[in-house]
């Protein structure tokens, strides 16, 4: 590991000032950053440990009925927060389907949104990677790429975003509160991560020194609580990143879909919101045909970036399945157990 400087600011404003210095990186729980530093992939010269800044670890209900999740709220605390899980079950389900108990006990809300891709070429310093070393090229393009992106990718980068948590947040129009030297600003989660384009090294809209302080969900998002599921296909039962996942939420009244929310994970460098599919679902009656149509619309622009054409078809199926599960209603048990198709019991047999 490199030698670094280490500072521990005691307030957001101190952190923002320290984080703006060249070579600085914010350290929250470090579950991703420490790993990247050990491998020589991230080489900050200064770690700004924001882990003990007071006031960032609260889950607050807002006057309008929404919720504000502090950036340092740990994934496990959020997932097991009864009130939160009751109102945003899809988010809890996504959190519990991610990583392992150990990591969920450490990883934070802000850190989860900033985790780097798991593309093996990004991790292998002997490989060319435009994200790690701009202009170096992308060895994944002609490499082992069956797990790579099918939406929104570019010739410069075909990696995917590994977060489960971000997928339902994108579907539910979460807002990211950001603090920088210029003050506070808000960005919709769907605009927070950037597609690779020609600059895959720039992954989010954060400017140097800007810090996520909270993520907000509105009362409107809670209105989907009755019909909301996160479905994740992975290659083993626990601690595996999504091959494809979907967050699907419906508001159903009188047998018709009033509104739908749909986002995909594992298919792009950002959580992929499927607005056209949502529009098509609005007003439709829930069922095989409308779900198939939504799935087709969501993947209309998809194209393989390598040996991964199957992911397009799999994503359609995951969407249709997630919508079917959502239409059937959110399960009683909260927080819901991981929605993995591997999980025994309820979800597999219906």
């Amino acid at each position: 590991m490199n030698r670094f400087d280490y500072v521990r600011p005691s307030s957001v404003s101190e952190a923002v000032a320290a984080g703006a210095e060249p070579g600085s990186a914010f350290l929250a729980a470090g579950t991703n950053l420490l790993d990247l530093m050990k491998g020589g992939i991230a080489r900050p010269t200064r770690l700004v440990d924001v882990g003990r800044i007071p006031g960032l670890d609260a889950i607050e209900t807002l006057p309008d009925g929404g919720v504000r999740i502090g950036a340092l709220v740990r994934n496990a605390d959020l997932a097991y927060h009864q009130e939160f899980a009751r109102r945003f079950p899809m988010v809890a389900e996504a959190l519990l389907s991610g990583a392992s108990a150990q990591l969920r006990n450490a990883a934070t809300t802000g850190g989860n949104l900033l985790q780097r891709t798991r593309c093996p070429y990004f991790y292998d310093t002997a490989s060319a990677c435009n994200k790690r070393e701009p202009g170096a090229g992308c060895d994944a393009l002609a490499g082992e790429n069956r797990q790579h992106a099918v939406l929104g990718w570019s010739e410069a980068c075909i990696a995917t975003n590994p977060s489960d948590f971000a997928v339902p947040l994108a579907a539910l129009d979460a807002v990211v509160e950001i603090e920088g030297r210029g003050g506070r600003r808000e960005v919709p989660l769907t605009d927070f991560h950037r597609l690779p384009g020609d600059t895959p090294q720039i992954e989010t809209v954060l400017a140097p020194g800007e810090l996520i302080v909270a993520v907000r969900l509105s009362a409107d998002a809670a209105a989907f609580a009755g019909h909301a599921r996160y479905l994740k296909v992975r290659e083993r039962t626990s601690y595996a990143f999504a091959v494809v996942s979907a967050a699907a939420a419906l508001r159903i009244a009188d047998g018709r879909i009033e509104a739908a929310r749909l986002a995909l994970g594992g298919v792009a460098l950002k959580p992929w919101r499927a607005r056209e599919a949502e529009a098509a679902l609005a007003g439709a009656s829930p069922g095989f045909e409308s779900f198939q149509e939504a799935a087709a619309l969501a993947l209309a622009e998809a194209r393989p970036s390598g040996d991964n054409a199957y992911k397009i078809e799999l994503a359609r199926r995951v969407i249709a399945r997630a919508l079917t599960l959502a239409a059937a209603g959110t399960p009683e048990r909260l927080p819901a157990l991981p929605g993995s198709p591997f999980a025994s019991g309820g979800s597999l047999h219906d």
Partner: protein, 914 residues
């Protein structure tokens, strides 16, 4: 950059100097010498380093030390909340939940977290809470049982055995307590004072020439470095390899690399210096050459030779021919063929290679994890250019091996570094380095054909298999020779022709991995048997039962099985279960849509010991004047339990209780050669040596006491009671004169299994005995998403005699987990899956319910009738799962692992064909 930090560890404040961003795991281990917290991956993937932080489980390898300041840290060395850790320790011991023990501290801490939050946790909660700790030995079955018992409030009780009653008893492992207390010392847990550290710089290229520049300026720029070792610094022969005539792997590459990960230089210095050294600072120029990936590329016309001595890249050819295979096919009513492909599979033991070496005068001592201490001794001696007796190998606790620690890895270079610097030198492979550089299971391309007559009796089997052995020979020849014997499976087949090739490529070397190629060959053969059953309209159980090898049958190598051939009993034991599962699945599928169920079945056999080669073991038991009874056991226990099993055998042969003994295990200065822990040979081969040693000592005692053969022994301090009715007497050991080792009475046993050489057609007696098994698998397949869940496995294994049923079950559970991984998820891709989140092994939630039937068809040649089970445990699982997927969906899979994208493609192809 370090600062003074205060940590509260197990209730005690501890102040130390540490880098604030150093991982808590490292600070605990190296700063506070609390080595109970293990590091398996250093990346949060394996959970071995799990500790409690303010009562909640976290991976200590990903916690920056500064963030733990002021918070309560509980490690395996502590008592945990409400004494939970203590209760879990006892339960783990009693259940046999710790095998190698490397994951045990993390597992216990994770369980403590679950039970502290939910004292009455059920199976689902426990599986959820343990989902982040990987275990490669146990299949998690006994771990979950142990935790469930604590949740139920049951008191753990480990059985003891009286004199003469050890064999067959469910004795707790005699080396178990340090494993559950976190005090067992694995390779990285030895921290000799003043040790230098060693790190290898490895090739990023799979095939390249290279030249190193002047190293003197580099050393000057990095004052913490003592030496940069290169090929020219190797005092003896810069080569190692399993076979005496094939020493083809360099300790440090000399101008040419043949695989990604070949070491080109070794840094020796302070830990900070070797870890902080940027690899780019090594002056090296590369000339990258085209690389041969996969056996087909290496066999192609005009492919360059990897090794000069092998111009066609074919390292070994294996062959077996019996009868006339064309005639056999002609006699068949049905014939099936298959082309089967398997991937590289990684052992994924949770302990990466680690240890240290020190020079003691003109001798060298290497303390490291290994499966083969005497082979390590030979290799180190040759590399150093010193005689064998100048090398001492002290095996540490071995955190899993499965064949991957049979080859030397760190031993030669550690020895060289300690030899030339005169200081102790440590090394700990990183997870990536371990996976990138050490051996794998051979990827196989198998083409096979099989015929059966109208009654389903097999008439012919033939196969050709190419095994990608990677850049170096390792155990490639063993695979090429073992496969032809086993390929037709445990069945009567009159006409057989098998041919194999082990092929050099520029891939990671493939070597020994639980089964030496037999699992790959079994996948092909069992697929053909399902084909024939389908073609002939026979039930899959019936066709296997009708052809199963039985007492008096002749194998494909012409060996007559005179005894201990229990496959028919194995099949009978699971018949009802299999037929019920088959019928249930078919009933379910008639009305189900998306989800289909299936039942599958497969059989296996496996020869215990090396193929047609002498592989002796020697064991010794000594009694000292003070009554100390010592079992000198050179067999390395890699978690399977040989330290316990061999003691049980020795104890009953001698006639004293196991707890009368102390054991000295696997130190080449102290224990006689017991060969390698491989080829499922320790229970059978070393077990016989242990039996003979016990009998030898008993004979000496009885003759001294002039007692009859039925006399009972009792050891009380220095008094050895020989109870034989009126002729009873007491031997006062202090009155006897000790020999040069200090023993007053001793026994020794040597055993080499009776085998014969194989002739040019592969005919002969390659093994003294075989393990047999049948396994039935039940699966649920989501045909829309392409996912498979194995719900139940019934495993019937003929083990001759279960010396310790708990340990035998543990082997079977663990083998099934590895077989499940082989079938469904494990695929090592060099350079791409060199960590435990891209390379997936089964987690606790992936495991099915397992029912074990132990069949005991005694082996007259075996100790108390026993034979090996280590490798047999794994072989039948993957084909049984594939058979079940096929039953569920109709998809005939011919490539493993069956990941969702492959199953998706197979189901899609099937839909298109309809």
């Amino acid at each position: 950059m370090t600062r003074t930090l205060t940590l509260i560890v197990n209730g005690e404040p501890r102040t130390l100097q540490a880098a604030p961003f150093a991982s808590l795991a490292d600070t605990l281990r190296e700063g506070l010498h609390l080595t109970g917290t293990k590091v398996g991956c250093d990346a949060g993937d394996c959970g071995a380093c799990t500790v409690l932080l303010d009562g909640e489980q976290v991976c200590a390898c990903l916690v920056p030390t500064a963030q733990a300041e002021g918070r309560a840290i509980t490690t395996i060395e502590g008592a945990g909340p409400a004494g939970l850790v203590d209760r879990l320790r006892e339960s783990f011991l009693a259940h046999g939940a710790a095998q190698c023990g490397i994951c045990t501290p993390g597992m216990i801490m994770a369980a403590a977290d679950v039970l502290a939050r939910d004292p009455r946790a059920g199976r689902a909660e426990i599986e959820d809470g343990l989902g982040g700790v990987l275990c490669r030995c146990t299949g998690y079955v006994k771990i979950v049982e142990a935790v469930l018992d604590v949740a139920r409030g049951a008191n753990a009780f480990a059985a003891k055995a009286d004199a003469g009653a050890a064999v067959g008893a469910r004795l707790a492992r005699v080396d178990g307590r340090p494993k559950v207390e976190g005090t067992d010392h694995f390779g990285a847990d030895h921290q000799p004072e003043g040790a230098l550290w060693l790190r290898l710089i490895r090739s990023p290229h799979a095939s390249a020439r290279f030249a190193l520049g002047d190293l003197a300026p580099v050393l000057a720029r990095h004052p913490g470095l003592a030496r940069i070792l290169t090929a020219r610094d190797i005092p003896g022969e810069n080569a190692f390899g399993i076979f005496p005539t094939i020493k083809d792997q360099p300790v440090l590459a000399d101008g040419l690399v043949r695989m990604r990960g070949d070491p080109v230089a070794a840094l020796v210095g302070t830990r900070a210096a070797v870890e902080g050294f940027p690899d780019a600072d090594l002056p090296i120029t590369w000339e990258v050459l085209p690389a041969l990936h996969g056996a087909a590329a290496a066999l192609a016309e005009g492919a360059p030779a990897l090794h000069r001595a092998v111009p066609d890249n074919v390292l070994t050819r294996g062959r077996l021919e019996r009868g006339d295979v064309a005639e056999g096919h002609a006699a068949g009513a049905a014939t099936a063929s298959v082309a089967f492909e398997t991937a590289f599979v990684e052992h994924a033991y949770i302990e990466p290679e680690a240890g240290y070496a020190r020079r003691v005068g003109d001798r060298i001592e290497v303390t490291a994890c290994t499966q083969a201490p005497v082979m390590d001794q030979e290799e180190v001696a040759r590399v150093l250019g010193v005689p064998m007796h100048a090398v001492r190998i002290v095996p540490t606790a071995c955190g899993g091996g499965f064949g991957g620690k049979l080859d030397v890895s760190i031993q030669p270079i550690l020895a060289v570094a300690a030899w030339v610097t005169g200081q102790p030198v440590r090394i700990v492979y990183s997870r990536i380095e371990s996976m990138a550089s050490t051996t794998k299971r051979h990827p196989a391309s198998i083409r096979a054909r099989m015929s059966a007559d109208g009654d389903g009796r097999f008439t012919a089997f033939e196969m050709e298999g190419d095994f990608n052995t990677g850049a170096y020979a390792s155990w490639g020849p063993t695979v090429a020779n073992r496969v032809p014997v086993h390929a037709p499976g445990p069945y009567r087949v009159p006409h057989v022709r098998n041919r194999t090739r082990a092929v050099y490529t520029n891939d990671t070397p493939a070597g020994a991995f639980r089964g030496f190629g037999v699992p790959q060959a079994t996948l092909a053969a069992e697929t053909l048997i399902d084909d024939l059953a389908e073609g002939l309209g026979l039930d899959r159980w019936t066709i296997r039962r009708r052809n199963a090898l039985d007492h008096g049958d002749t194998t494909a190598s012409g060996q007559v099985l005179h005894a201990s051939a229990g496959l028919p009993q194995c099949l009978d034991a699971l018949r009802d279960d299999f037929l019920r599962a088959q019928a249930d699945a078919e009933a379910f599928n008639r009305t189900s849509g998306r989800v289909k169920r299936g039942a599958g079945i497969a059989c296996m056999w496996y020869g215990c010991g090396n193929t047609s080669m002498s592989n002796p073991s020697t064991m010794r038991i000594a009694l000292r004047p003070d009554g100390t009874l010592t079992f000198f056991n050179g067999a390395v226990d890699i978690g399977q339990g040989s330290t316990t099993v061999l003691l049980q055998i020795a104890a009953d042969a001698l006639g004293l209780a196991p707890d009368a003994f102390e054991s000295v295990v696997g130190d080449t200065d102290l224990t006689p050669d017991a060969g390698k822990t491989s080829a499922s040979r320790q229970t059978f081969v070393s077990g016989n040596a242990a039996r003979l040693a016990g009998e030898d000592l008993r004979r000496a005692i009885l003759s001294l006491a002039n007692a009859g053969p039925d006399a009972r022994l009792r050891l009380e301090g220095a008094c050895l009671h020989v109870e034989n009715g009126p002729a009873s007497r007491v031997i006062d050991l202090t009155t006897l004169s000790p020999d040069e080792t200090g023993a007053v009475l001793s026994g020794e046993g040597r055993y080499d299994p009776p085998t014969t050489a194989l002739d040019a057609n592969g005919q002969g007696v390659p093994y003294a005995t075989y393990g047999f098994a049948a396994q039935a698998a039940e699966v649920e397949v989501d045909t829309v998403l392409g996912t498979v869940r194995v719900t139940r496995i019934v495993a019937a294994h003929d083990v001759g005699r279960a010396v310790n049923p708990t340990l035998v079950e543990g082997q079977i559970h663990g083998g099934i987990a590895q077989g499940l991984g082989l079938a469904l998820m494990e695929e090592f891709i060099p350079g791409r899956t060199e960590n435990l989140h891209d390379y997936l092994i089964p987690t606790v939630g992936d495991m099915p319910e397992i029912v074990v039937h132990l069949i005991e068809d005694p082996e007259p040649e075996g100790p108390f009738g026993a034979k090996g089970v280590g490798e047999p445990a794994l072989v039948a699982t993957a084909p049984a799962i594939l058979s079940a997927i096929r039953h569920a969906t109709g998809a005939r899979l011919t490539r493993v692992p069956v990941l969702p994208h492959r199953l998706h493609a197979a189901l899609h192809a099937r839909e298109a064909a309809e």
